[in-house]
Symmetry: D3
């Protein structure tokens, strides 16, 4: 019998451990099929901080989620053994040191054949996670949902922060650029190259404005077909969503995706060989009613619902 979340019928939702969905906490990754990991950092952010409290808040809101995905039929806890591995012991005063620690931590975790599900934390964390993932799987296909391309060459002279992740990932061969999608991009920029350059690398860019007023099922189908059976990493920046749906983030951009679109997109990726997922940039000080963290928790549950090996009933 696999680990199970505590049911809201057994223990009131405002009680119990503050793990993701009130799953058991584990120290040891052995025997797990997938695991939640928090990376509570915000020193890689450029506008509003606060994402250091993201993992805490997402876990708190996740107490609302029940174990069965009624809408899709997925029953992740029937087939997979999951646990919450707690937080990486980042160094809150040093971005470079934190990046190193995250990579090392994931190297250790990925000695076990599990799928890491990361709760951020600012988007910088995706770089060391991808480094660890690529050591295991080679260059991965990437579904990157974000308001921003995060492909700056540097910011304030730093080559590794939340705005440079995917340029680095490509340079280092962590991702397969021809199997990389960037979805939800918008906001303002500095030049027409902002998106063109990545397109030149092979990245598939889907700006938010191309997606307004429509279902994302067709896009998901297209991605699924083109990625085939390559190993895939999903990096979900909560600011891909419109601030109406996700106000609690550090660099919000208006006119973004809706939560129905986000769910269609994730659900439509079912069948892919997912090897890792993250949900980043939730900033609780700007999330007055907790809805951003609630949204993040649910989207993580949706990603969890499409992992390889999840049964449907």
């Amino acid at each position: 019998m696999t680990n199970q979340p505590i049911s809201g019928n057994d223990l009131a939702r405002f009680s119990g451990p503050q793990t993701f969905m009130r799953l058991p906490e584990a120290q040891d990754p052995a025997g797990l099929d997938a695991a939640l990991i928090g990376v509570p950092m915000d020193i890689g952010t450029s506008w509003r901080s606060g994402t250091r409290f993201g993992p805490k808040q997402i876990r708190e809101q996740s107490a609302m989620i029940r174990p069965y995905n009624v809408q899709t039929g997925a029953a992740p806890f029937d087939g997979l053994n999951l646990a919450d591995l707690g937080d990486v012991a980042i160094n809150t005063f040093s971005l470079s040191e934190t990046i190193r620690i995250v990579e090392n931590s994931y190297d250790r975790i990925l000695r076990h054949p599990l799928i890491p599900l990361t709760l951020g934390g600012d988007h910088t964390l995706t770089l060391p996670v991808l480094r660890a993932v690529a050591k295991v799987h080679g260059p991965v296909a990437l579904v990157h949902v974000d308001a921003h391309a995060d492909i700056n060459d540097e910011m304030f002279g730093m080559r590794e922060c939340h705005g440079t992740v995917f340029r680095r990932a490509r340079e280092e061969g962590l991702v397969d650029p021809r199997k990389t999608w960037q979805i939800g991009l918008r906001g303002t920029g500095y030049s027409a190259d902002d998106f063109r350059e990545a397109a030149g690398w092979g990245f598939h860019i889907r700006q938010a404005q191309q997606l307004w007023h429509q279902s994302l099922k067709p896009l998901a189908a297209e991605i699924r077909e083109q990625i085939g059976d390559a190993p895939v990493y999903i990096s979900f920046d909560i600011d891909s969503l419109d601030p109406a749906f996700a106000p609690g983030t550090g660099t919000p951009e208006i006119a973004g995706l809706t939560t129905p679109q986000a769910m269609e997109l994730i659900r439509g990726l079912h069948g892919l060989t997912i090897v890792g997922c993250d949900l980043v940039e939730v900033s609780p000080p700007y999330d007055m009613a907790g809805t951003t963290a609630l949204t993040a928790a649910n989207l993580m549950f949706e990603m969890l619902s499409i992992l390889p090996g999840v049964p449907f009933r």
Copy 2:
């Protein structure tokens, strides 16, 4: 001449009595065609509390509403005599006692041939209200708009709380299951039976995901046709709306209905023999800018605008 709301041109909106739309308060239901009634309770809630302040906050925000429904032409106060009957004197320490008090109060009120318009309060209140309504009208058709089906058999051993209302209502013959619609359902659950069982009773289930990206006018037309001239009760749980539109509620679920959809649905029910309406689950402590209560007040006005006897001009 019927009771009229105080006009914003006669008295500044931030002034005056805190009744719904600043209508006269009445102690005696005699002579009224419909009446607003508050049921300020939250001890039937399972996650975040606070709905005990719902009626107060909805009334405060209702001061913004003007008496004529420009968008539909409805002029409810031209044809109906309305008043605000204030709050039911619930027992804040006992859920079962409160359920009993609400039923008794509505029994007394419904000795008069008026349409009760209830401001909640948590969804538990709908059960005793339906009991009183069914004594007058027999089993009613039901339009239940909600993120949740509220058909648990029990929660923590309790058979009457905000999550069991509609199973009880069916068991007790308060509603006609073949004329019952549940609209906006979503979120997570425990098994595939969560929705299937109610479908087996005859309930018409419309999950939120079936309604994304589309107008609800066709659905409203379908309901109107199938219900015909049966007496109808509308129970509107504000959490049917997406948290972007209604963050101030106790058990929010992402990817819900939009306010345009809610208005299309309600307006499309015009012509039905409505015998009661409620608007529940507004939780002011989580409604920082007051928009959830404002939304609730407006949706109640929309329901009021389709009552039998309302003239259009």
Copy 3:
């Protein structure tokens, strides 16, 4: 070389002057093609106040905006010389005196051939601005985006406040009624004449409910064609947006426009001879996470991006 915003790569976004997009502040309008001007007032509001802090908050949030409009290709600072002229020194105790001061200030500014871009402040300000604009350009075409028609004859006996602006503007010949659009109207009213009368003057009314679930590109195209090369003023009341997108305003109305719609509308007006724009009714005390001000800042940037003379690349 024209004035440039401070780049987020040169100075962290939470630093520097609190001008719009951290543009240089100017005392003297000479040499400017367009200019930001704050009118920090709220004594013309009828429900919740607080718009007096609107200009401050919009400027603060505008620090997030980068100079190039990636989505449309507009590069406003390549072609136009802009500055922030600071705030009009309004009289916070007297509405009539403030109206006089605003008109005088704009008269002085418009001795120079620049396009005024006004940050409000309550909607009353548009009346004196239009008076100054009409002295220069004659009656202008008007694109008025708002939840409200703002065509009352008086409120509490006052003929000039935020609810009477466009009746006055028409009476005084400041706008060409046959080239006037009112977009996003909704909410409740007092009689069927609320919208009919203005239609009789020639105003083109597009209620919000006519626009739900659809792109506004066709509407923008229609407006652009019918206005032709007449001088145009755009008055954008942030409450035209749904409160999900813009909670921080004084008289919110549910079921409004979305931000994608707002952007489609503004972008679709490119090519018109715009002679002035305003963005009004942002009320920071009700804008907990700053998203309303962020939205306002971005919409002003979108209006700035379609000004005559802006190059695209």
Copy 4:
């Protein structure tokens, strides 16, 4: 039997009418010994607005207050007949018009021999109230508790706003300057005359810094003795309190009075011939947890507890 507040044991505190302490609302002042009156205005404020919602919020928080003053033994409702007369129908667009309306309203009310207890609203309201009071009682002794002296000659050319009240009151002979106390003054100013001039008129100035770390019982005793049996008006600006105790106000000044000091002061004035009281400058948008309004409600109850005719038991 006099009017009684609704008991929290009869009706849950979050229920019932939103009158002060849930007293009966009255239209007619006849037969009342004292009455609550709201003056919901904020257009006389110079920094943050929002006091227009003060009366509403104070009334909401007053639901917590029980009828007997355990700490002093006062039982106001045993001896006095009180009611809530609702709000004055101010003109929210015109300060001068509002001042005129308030004076007229109080003239009408004071045809009856009652003590007006005013809930503000900004401090401007005290001027027209004092005009009406002085018509009945002649120049009154004044206990003015405030962070500010409010004795400017004008602000932005206006001679009547929240910063000029007590200069006007003295000029017009509404108060007896030798029996006028200003308590709690602090903050910054423009010249040494800020306080000296009023001292020259006879005003007794007690700056906050003279009162730090000490009981106000001696001060109250001194005032009581010097005023003797002259008619007295108490004007209590909530910003006299330190922002730790009363953050929800428009022009907060640090290092102010504490609530124990406020209670000692008011209680120590028992025995004076009080002819009117007000509690002003509560601004709900800045009162996140409601404690400022709660404090205001309690201080009004304390003033009510020392009115002539209140029995002690």
Copy 5:
């Protein structure tokens, strides 16, 4: 070696398990000298709810506390073995059932000779805890710090809720009335008997007004002397503090204790034979900046610092 909190130098404070002070969580009380226990309930509250989230929020804020009490020299973790036992599985829909569950849970826990340190939750919980404690220790001396006496006979017909605890405790012989102190009482009431009756039972009443402007060291010394070596229970209602220090509570009363007074009181009780402590009535939805929960966490740490067996260095 006893259990130790995780140090902020080993793991960033915003990381790690959400136990009190990040102590180990335990299922089994065996071997513990004292234990933290959460009782997350709010259905016993009469005004604002929300205390169901109290244990969660106190634990979150407790991450700031370091293990050594620098101000007193206490080193609790040097001498005592502590753990966090998590939350009691209350029934959120039934107050009477919850009271029964809490008593049973504490009966089970107190089979082990440990000191229970309870995190509330509303004050109702103290009744079943005292029942369990008295079974072990007989009638205990009581230090009850609160704005309210909580000695009603019933509320809404209920004999067991947050306002009746200490009348029940005395009736049932759970406390020794001659060794019972009630400290910080204030607010308003219904009759002079409110405090007199309990004084007649032998309770020592110290109203807040008797304590304003002074150190509580003398009071603590008096209590310590009179209690001698009797077993003592400390029940600390956070609303004993002034709302300036503790806004996040359900029934705040102005003019209360300060945090220095609270610390002097608790520290002054060192040497007593403490057999249990609770900290109740923290309501997070009204605790915007988290300072109430932070205060609660620190006061619990102060109580923990005076437990029998704690070494000082």
Copy 6:
């Protein structure tokens, strides 16, 4: 004539530039006697972030301050020429780089004989500022007001962050330990050495608990006498104040100083040869009503009021 703040009588307080007290902004320090400088950083914080917005928010709230210190008679702008030099262009991704930039910036500024008045930003900034100051003045006397000693040797292996400042300052000979006061210390720690070690260096420690319930005038007099005419730096961490007065900070500790105490302390230092001041650790996301920033602005004005050369009238 020196630079003057814009008067609230000339321009409404919610208008105008967002400089400190709406002073002129300057690029060039030449000719200034003292200058405001912002250091908007938060990456040196260990618990809650957000101080990067401190300078912005302090400046916004400073608009309330008038130029004359009525309570002390100080008229700083009569005698000194001040300006706001804006923000240091810190590197938000690198703490060590930011420390370097701040030192270099202050080196440049201090080529001019002015007194730097720094608005933080987290406390880390004081280290590079002291380095620059000591190059000009040699080891300075220090008045350090804080809840924390900030004398850790390292945190997470970092020797320079907000918790190590004053150990480094002493090691580097930036301060004269025998003329160093640490005032307001409290909170919890790791060992008895936490305060003892610094006492051994000669630091004068005044814990908060030694200062409860009393005036700080005697302490200020003692400091003034012992420092004599040595150059003095004042470093004021806003968390020295009790969270009731200053909730908006990153590492709040309960039972701290009051604002009257803070003002007595600063005013009592008049006459010292002050060579620099800072006000740090204001975190706006946790400062809901703006009172922390208001307090910070006023305390900076008090420090400004005691600078050498300020005339009194």
